[in-house]
Subunit: 510 residues, 2 copies
Amino acid sequence: MPTATLPQHYTDLIALQRESGTLGSIAANISWDQETYMPAGGAGARAEQSSLLAGIIHERNTSSKLGDLLAQCEADADLSDESTPEGASLREMRRDYDLATKLPTDLVKALALAQSTAQETWKKSRANNDFPSFVDDLTKVLDLTREKGECYGYKEGGEVYDALINEYEPDTTAKEIEVVFTPLRDRLSAFIKDLTENGTAPKVDFLHRSIAVEKQHAFGQAITAQLGFDYNTGRLDTTTHPFCSGFGPGDTRMTTRYEPTNFPDAVGSTMHECGHGLYEQGLPKGGALFGTPLAAAVSLGIHESQSRMWENMVGRGKPFWNWALPVANKHFDNAFEDIDLDTFVKSMNTCTPSFIRVESDESTYNLHVMLRFELERAMINGDLAIKDLPGAWNEKFKNFLGLDVPDDTTGCLQDVHWSFGLVGYFPTYTLGNLYAAQMWETINETIPDLDAQMAKGEFGALLSWLRENIHQHGRRYSAAQLCQRATGKPLDAAPLMRHLERRVKPAYCM
Amino acid sequence: MPTATLPQHYTDLIALQRESGTLGSIAANISWDQETYMPAGGAGARAEQSSLLAGIIHERNTSSKLGDLLAQCEADADLSDESTPEGASLREMRRDYDLATKLPTDLVKALALAQSTAQETWKKSRANNDFPSFVDDLTKVLDLTREKGECYGYKEGGEVYDALINEYEPDTTAKEIEVVFTPLRDRLSAFIKDLTENGTAPKVDFLHRSIAVEKQHAFGQAITAQLGFDYNTGRLDTTTHPFCSGFGPGDTRMTTRYEPTNFPDAVGSTMHECGHGLYEQGLPKGGALFGTPLAAAVSLGIHESQSRMWENMVGRGKPFWNWALPVANKHFDNAFEDIDLDTFVKSMNTCTPSFIRVESDESTYNLHVMLRFELERAMINGDLAIKDLPGAWNEKFKNFLGLDVPDDTTGCLQDVHWSFGLVGYFPTYTLGNLYAAQMWETINETIPDLDAQMAKGEFGALLSWLRENIHQHGRRYSAAQLCQRATGKPLDAAPLMRHLERRVKPAYCM
């Protein structure tokens, strides 16, 4: 309906949402500051600031005033039609309000305490390779997380895991994920086995030539600007763990990391965060929508699809390096002058089974994720006793990646996520890869000369497609709907397999 | 009284204050970010964030809950004795609460609008050297500012100007300032006249040798660390206008500016902000006091006394440069190797009447301030019609500094302050210089070998004196009481004159 005729209860609701969004953007700013420039001594005060602000935001997001306005709008037939932007916005506000109000305060507190305790225990257990010492705390966190899921609720015929995914990947179920993951898992395992047994691994030593950090930073800024990241409304800084935070209208902050002898890590991180950054810059935050679901990212999986597409589909491809390798040589005093384009591109597409998820390559990464999905689902559903996690982990690891896990520190104790009760979070990483691959096929059909464009350093058509099909919609459609609209098909494992076969096999001379 | 026995209404009050302090520190952080790292495109959202946060803070600072707790505590004889820390804290909380609640909302809004309009007009009027076009807006702002002062109220026998100073320099009156300023003004005018007519200006050309900005930054960090600034709880960054912001416990941010050919400007700015920073780091914010007046700076004048002492008393003296010149040569590839210590120190102590306050030197600066004090006092008291400001300005300028002001852009239109309704603010700059000079005499009596210590790069005894006599007290005592306690005397103009005579006359070979 035209803005002029929007009723007071709707405009009041939007105003409240905008304030929450603004407070959230302040919280994002001080959190960014904590990772980038805050002196070490400021940590205590920062925790107090973040906690106070979180409390104020939570109070607003659970207020009866918000609940009343929301109910009024939902009862207003002119507004609540989900096929309109207003109706879709209301649907998503309801989701947020329910997520924020459905948990009893006692449970929230108990979970916070259990997470904090478990995190400390995890640090020690991991350091000492002592899983048994972690069992009680992890059990407690998962019990409370399960309770949380039950409070949220899930559809009939579903499982508690669905309720937990909902926080990260709304409108997705464990069953739907399983249907896509299972064929991918088997094909991927076979693919990797074939490559490692029958292929020839590409040379990568030259990638570790020493390149000054400042030069890597200038190169990272140059390429991300070319990809379309707007530095008038954003920044690139350095942190231990790269991340991207879209503060709000006109302010998106990416971070990356540099090591003189690990240029590919920096390029990968920078292009990955740039993908997140381009999504944030493409969300319609500029006008009246900021603070509403229509100006927010739809899911972690879709967010990750954007980062993965620029990192992998673009950033490991020959067309990109046709343009970027001369740029790199210009920035790096011709450090790779003796490396031809094909050799360089091959080096960016290795596939080596290894134990640590965050160090794994584009192909094996998904097996790390799927292993976690199966295990956390089994644990939360009560099908796997926590004490049996190491055995189950090691067995799956052998099946999926063909490796014998030497110890739990290198195995099931490597990630902090479960101590935080993050269940349903891991699969979004692979969902991101799958969405990216499926979009990538459609994009290449829609822009047949995309490779030629990229080879000249032109990324505008690609970015326009993403802006139009993904970014501009915010949370108007679910991730699955967005995928269907953009690609004409439901999510499927085949495009990712086709992508990896096209990209990695040649690197292994197969 | 011992903490264990503090009544609930007091601990509740302190908890409220701490939350306000914490919110204030968040506001300070996003404001710092705005000046340092925010991309240009983030300005609109930042204004919205700052305004929302200011509204939340104002709501809390004027809440009836706060007022009730305050009244309860004031009625509690065990708490309200001003000679105790709790009593002094209550006195100051009452001041803050009254300042926050005494203004009618309509006046606050009218003033905000008038200030915003006047500021825009001022920009144009200054650019066009067109004072008449500024008269109406300035009149409006000053009328509303006068009304604000009347709402605040002032002691019998006083004047509305007292009420306005109270925001910046509590417990100080126009009359008290006049008593100190008038003799200083006359002695300073004569002193400057004598120097410029009978002295020989020192050579300064070598100060403008080109020094790379990164090297100046490293030098600035090195000397401020040596002065005692703790970089574990603070930072030094770069902004157009240097400032210092003490966010809260363990986090103090200084900024400075660099020009390759203006090394003395950077050193002066850095040491100035370091003085502010050392004060902020010395306030007792670490424990339970953060957010209360006992952990806050007492007045702008005292804050400025700290910055001026390190910038001028320390930073333009021979002892400091005895240590710092070799350090500078080390950082700057021996840029000043051919300059002997005496020549260098002389160059740091010039005295040249000029038109622009912010570019003026240690001696003439105070005449710029005193001129503004006299004029703003006359305007606010209705003794000077706004339209007559340029004439009055130029006449005083001739009397004080011996110069004919060529135009209003270089004259009464140079500062933005009055468009903001900042009346009673300017004098705090010179009060700072006066407090600094008076403390400096006491410090040198208490630490007879201070010069020898500084010549070796030792500043610990000086900082300890400031910590003990100024920093640790927060707002427990008024600025005047602090001065009396620390120096044994009320504020007087003589120490500043003696300091300038000792320091600047030798630079002019007199």
